[in-house]
């Protein structure tokens, strides 16, 4: 393969990885603290993307300008979901895992119905930053680059938040040892609400950026959930660096697999890698191994 082509495919793959990472980060935040896989995650991304498209077309506000509002709205939605729905899980842990999946399934169903009622089945998208920069022989799509940078920034911000703030310490404590954290006076319920708010806020921000790359309709959510989950599972649940690395690996694999193999192979790579990795290394590439 020509080195220029290999470089271009790598860049494409990394940028695609940025999109994957955006979709996955929020899911990982929620899982890290609550051990809940929010199946409605993709639906929240889509809902935010649809909002971004409508706002752009009506008022000319770009998804980037809208980002703070999207984050706040997503965070509110997440907090409400946690308080109203996910707080009511049964106490026994085996039952809680199943019930949380079922609840999330119901929430996803609800959001799809809501989005259909509000936005119809039309595909929407934002025509903003669609050009590319030419760096020598390599072209870099602007919106993808923005998404890539945003993914890095969000992952960085999450890392700083978790490492260096009191809230972050609380969240980490809640994610590692519920009983211990409770004994230290940490309000576990509040930490769970905050993690849902944070995760859903990130999902909504991701939705705004995704609207510049793809056209989505209310039914596009489950696909995104699956993709996001593949990234998280690959990178390791609870690890943000793992999410970035997992997303980059998947992005590059999809890029090369789609080019050297077929479009079908490109589409299937995320699932195949995700299942293969889990079978051989259940904790993901950077996850803490289970004891």
């Amino acid at each position: 393969m020509h080195p220029e082509l290999a470089a271009q495919l790598t860049v494409d793959g990394l940028l695609l990885g940025g999109v994957f990472a955006l979709a996955a980060l929020g899911l990982n935040v929620i899982f890290g603290v609550t051990r809940i896989v929010n199946l409605a995650h993709g639906e929240i991304i889509v809902l935010a993307a649809l909002c971004a498209a409508v706002v752009f077309q009506r008022f000319g506000i770009t998804p980037i300008e809208l980002l703070p509002a999207e984050f706040i709205a997503g965070a509110l939605l997440g907090a409400i979901l946690e308080r109203l729905v996910f707080r009511r899980l049964p106490p026994d842990p085996a039952g809680a895992e199943t019930t949380s999946l079922l609840l999330a399934f119901g929430v996803a169903y609800f959001i799809v119905g809501f989005s259909l009622a509000v936005f119809t089945g039309d595909f929407r998208s934002v025509a903003y930053l669609t050009s590319s920069w030419q760096l020598g022989p390599i072209s870099v799509g602007q919106s993808r680059f923005v998404a890539f940078v945003a993914a890095l920034a969000i992952a960085g911000a999450l890392a700083v938040l978790l490492r260096s703030t009191a809230l972050g310490r609380g969240l980490r404590a809640a994610s590692q040892n519920v009983e211990g954290a409770r004994a230290c006076g940490i309000d576990i319920g509040r930490m769970r609400t905050i993690s849902f708010a944070l995760g859903s806020g990130v999902a909504a921000a991701a939705g705004g950026l995704v609207s510049m790359i793809y056209a989505v309709n209310p039914d596009s959510g489950s696909q995104l959930t699956l993709l996001a989950f593949s990234v998280v599972a690959l990178g390791g649940l609870g690890s943000y660096a793992g999410t970035l690395i997992g997303a980059a690996i998947l992005g590059v694999a999809v890029s090369f697999g789609g080019f050297l193999g077929s479009a079908q192979i490109g589409q299937l790579i995320p699932y195949v890698i995700f299942i293969a990795v889990l079978l051989f290394r259940p904790s993901g590439i950077l996850g803490k191994s289970a004891t």
Partner: protein, 306 residues
């Protein structure tokens, strides 16, 4: 109690066998869809309800069954019923290695891994040289509703029978134990992998058999319609509504939802999904184990007071 269940089940199945031919084509197709989904729900309930492994990919086996009939009838010129049987057999055979592989994943990993598997099979069916690809396969046109219906009803009877067996057998006891705590079940001598795979195979045979009837009913098969996420999600929602891991849950949830979604969905296409989603969430919160266990418990309380 088991005898009463058998009596009630037989009565319901007999009713389902007698009524449709008396009604119009519409009545027949309503029965077909209701019975199809109830049977799918029973199939799903074994691995998900009794085994505790939520799957979003059992539709894989449904699609395989549908293709068994489509290909068997058009390419090999075999009778469709034979192909429909073969569909169930193929599903069972494939489920063994797939079960060994996929059941090493747990909880959300298994659930979403199965969703990925269904997508993988769909794309494979679109690309494979022998499936007719995405253009699909046309079966000979004909009045197939009643034959497809009776086949589906027979599969429902089988699925209910197997559920009853699971419910009252040592196999079911082991399955419920491993659902609660796999590790403890293992150290108590339960061959966890073997029984999980067995449950998975049962949950594959049922959709595998049903798929063939579906192909015959529609007279057309394409990857998007038989490996459809829509069918999978609808089935899952039904069992959740009725009660996961209970004998009557799939029946009540399936009957309720296929009826309501047909009357409600056809009139309020956008709104009804929202109502369903809300209903699922509300039910899970208010009655965490579904309608049937809640009703049973309420009835038990009443008779205890009386």
């Amino acid at each position: 109690m088991t005898d009463r269940r058998i009596a009630a089940s037989v009565a319901i199945l007999a009713l389902c066998a007698i009524l449709p031919p008396l009604g119009s084509g519409y009545v027949q197709s309503v029965f077909y869809i209701a019975v199809l989904y109830i049977a799918l729900a029973y199939g799903w309930n074994v691995i998900a309800g009794y085994g505790g492994y939520l799957s979003f990919g059992q539709v894989t086996f449904f699609g395989i069954g549908a293709y068994a009939v489509a290909l068997g009838v058009t390419q090999l010129h075999l009778p469709w019923l034979l192909c429909a049987f073969a569909g169930g057999a193929i599903a069972a055979v494939l489920a063994v290695p797939l079960g060994y592989l996929m059941l090493r994943l747990r909880g959300p990993f298994f659930a979403l891994g199965m969703l990925g598997l269904a997508q993988t099979t769909r794309i494979a069916a679109e690309a494979a040289p022998f499936t007719g690809g995405s253009a699909g396969i046309y079966l000979p046109p004909g009045s197939n509703t009643l034959p497809a219906y009776y086949w589906t009803l027979a599969v429902l009877a089988l699925a209910m029978g197997m559920t009853l067996w699971v419910d009252r057998s040592t196999f079911g006891l082991r399955l419920r134990a491993l659902r609660a705590d796999e590790r403890a079940a293992g150290t108590l001598g339960v061959d966890v992998t073997r029984f999980k795979v067995m449950a998975f195979v049962i949950s594959a045979i049922v959709p595998g058999l049903l798929g063939g009837g579906y192909a015959w009913y529609l007279t057309y098969v394409d990857p998007a319609s038989v490996f459809s996420t829509h069918i999978e999600l609808q089935t899952v929602a039904m069992v959740i509504l009725g009660g996961v891991g209970t004998y009557w849950g799939p029946f009540v949830g399936g009957a309720l939802m296929s009826q309501v979604s047909q009357s409600l969905g056809a009139r309020f296409p956008q709104g009804h999904l929202m109502i369903f989603g809300g209903l699922i969430v509300a039910l899970l919160i208010a009655l965490p184990r579904g309608i049937v266990p809640a009703l049973t418990a309420a009835l038990a309380r009443r008779s205890a007071r009386a």
